[in-house]
Assembly symmetry: C2
Homo-oligomer: 369 residues x 2
């Protein structure tokens, strides 16, 4: 008896994991983190109305969710000024990125992204056999000109850009993004990841027509809406592109309570404002803690602060480890020179008390090592 015959592509793939989750680290350490500040989750939680909607929906969880996501798509359509046909729902932006890549990328097709940008996007591109072409960051920003030049050079089908950016927290203005659209090579699609857009300054979201065929935009309930564990992301763009997702998506794949919760969260813009305010306050304190320890915080249009540790990647790796041992879960950029930094998500006052106590100890330990 032989085993299954995998595709050539599946045989070529590593058993890759884009991220190691905090629970895995906690089990390895044998103790829980005291401050969970590594995954850019929203410690301020979702709207109480969203929690109530999810609790209520738990009683109806025996029913499959509406496969067309009717209510949520209509509410989102109203917010973005389009129609439900402009919107596709998915299992977080992660799930939607996988579907987008599947629609466009055959083995060998060219895809352009920044070196050190979102690893889960890369995971999907590799998973469908795409050829990844990476350009460096420029001054801790994604380098739009370089992305576009590279896309033209390699005849890319897909260009990934996060705005604001993760892991650096930097951003471009909406006008810059809009101008970039006119330079996108024919036959390339811009995948604009706006996961953090609700934290960015006014004018960061570009004013682009929904029927522009050159771009698809992704947003999420995982960050500002505080529902990372629910898995609700959405994409929006030209109706023809959006319709293509119906060819491959898992139509009954959405959690019913998540869908109800997202709708309630969207309708509670007062809570969103509260979270935005708390995040801004927390980011200021993280920056102050960094400064008090002789480190500098980079400007951030997200719900995290990227801290320049003033040394190299090995130093930052040691800092992430030392902070982890002191109970503070943080992450860091993967690529030089961005990997001189560590990345700390906004936290509660209690979380930041822990950080304030741990940071000097971690620095002393790493410098003394």
């Amino acid at each position: 008896m032989t085993g299954p015959r995998y595709t050539k592509l599946a045989q070529s793939l590593p058993a890759n994991v884009p991220f190691v989750g905090p629970e895995v680290q906690e089990r390895d350490m044998g103790k829980p983190f005291r401050a969970r500040l590594g995954a850019n989750e929203s410690v301020f939680g979702p709207s109480p109305k969203a929690i109530e909607a999810m609790e209520q929906a738990s009683h109806d969880i025996w029913k499959y969710a509406d496969s067309t996501n009717f209510a949520l798509k209509n509410a989102l359509a109203e917010q973005i000024g389009g129609t439900p046909d402009n919107i596709v729902l998915g299992s977080g932006i992660d799930g939607l990125l996988g579907e987008l890549v599947r629609l466009l990328i055959e083995p060998g097709d060219a895809v352009v992204t920044s070196d050190g940008a979102y690893p889960t996007f890369n995971y999907h591109v590799v998973g469908f056999g795409g050829a990844l072409h990476k350009v460096p960051f420029k001054n801790d920003h994604e380098d739009i000109d370089a992305l576009l030049d590279k896309a033209a050079e390699v005849d890319a089908k897909l260009i990934y850009l996060a705005n604001p950016d993760n892991p650096m927290g930097s951003w471009h203005t909406g006008d810059v993004i809009k101008a970039a659209l006119d330079r996108i090579p024919d036959g390339a699609l811009l995948c604009l990841d706006e996961a953090y857009i609700e934290f960015a300054p006014e004018g960061t979201a570009p004013d682009v027509a929904l029927d522009d065929p050159r771009v698809i935009r992704f947003r999420t309930f995982s960050k500002a809406y505080g529902m990372a564990g629910a898995r609700v992301g959405y994409g929006f763009g030209h109706v023809d592109l959006i319709k293509n997702f119906d060819k491959i998506r898992n139509h009954f794949g959405m959690n019913r309570a998540a869908q109800d919760g997202a709708l309630a969260a969207l309708q509670d813009q007062e809570w969103l404002a509260h979270v935005q305010s708390e995040v801004a306050r927390s980011k200021n304190r993280i920056a102050a803690i960094a400064q008090a320890n002789g480190l500098s915080a980079l400007p951030s249009a997200t719900n995290f602060v990227t801290i320049d540790c003033g040394s190299d990647g090995a130093f930052a790796v040691a800092m992430v480890k030392a902070l982890g041992e002191l109970g503070v879960f943080v992450r860091m950029p993967f690529q030089a020179p961005q990997n001189r930094c560590i990345r700390i998500s906004a936290g509660t006052d209690a979380d930041l008390d822990v950080l304030e106590e741990a940071l000097p100890k971690a620095l002393a330990k790493v410098r003394g090592a």
Copy 2:
């Protein structure tokens, strides 16, 4: 400006929807169904402990779920007598079928299933370019010999078999399934869908070693555990096969509350016994209602009853429509001669009161038409 360049495969696909959900039908009708008996959901709901776990988890929904599904996989491993490495979690069996097909099927690869078996499996096979080969049912059972002969003939990489079967409710004994394994052609994998196994007679689940490389089995929390809207399914089999899912799955794709709820549901086997008993009682009453109207119920090892309407597909289509107009959501098999039947999920007493009232009216309407 041109649009995106899709893969050849994506271009060839229809904007297919495996099923039209009841919510879509309700919006079309302008009124809700009075009895929701069409999707083999469990109207008896999940364990109250599962509801409590999901309610509780709603407060923590700001955290991503554990990407390794550690607690749930360990509990499942204990139940099936394996290790967590034998188990993969996914977004319902639907999601897992898509991942399995992706691992094995390249354009043109042969896949064997029964004509009229689970459409969502076919959807995924077509979605990855596989060549579907179908064999007819035999006496309202999936025809295992024909499936195996066809698999040998077309050099199939994948063979789909649901046991118990949906939409007919029929089943084979575990011994028959086990014997079939020895006839599986080299290089073919049996995809054994056991979504309804908890409703089947003792001995329906085959006694197969977990390290048998010829089969992967899928089970779900959507049916007997009453959590269809949560989207938690699992596959189990040889560790090498299971490990391959880690190459492509959406690692952080599981809803956190769903995961907690499934664990609580699994631990409440008393509730499962209650549901099994309620389903058995309900199925008896559905059969009696059918008989009182001159129709016959097929034997069922599932949570639904397939009713032979004693006529042809057109008649059954009209019956589904007439029942729908009377407020009863049911579905039916797609292929002749199984499409002489309609399929009614177990319901509450109140649901079956509605069915009892509607069935003679629907019959009169369709016969008088």
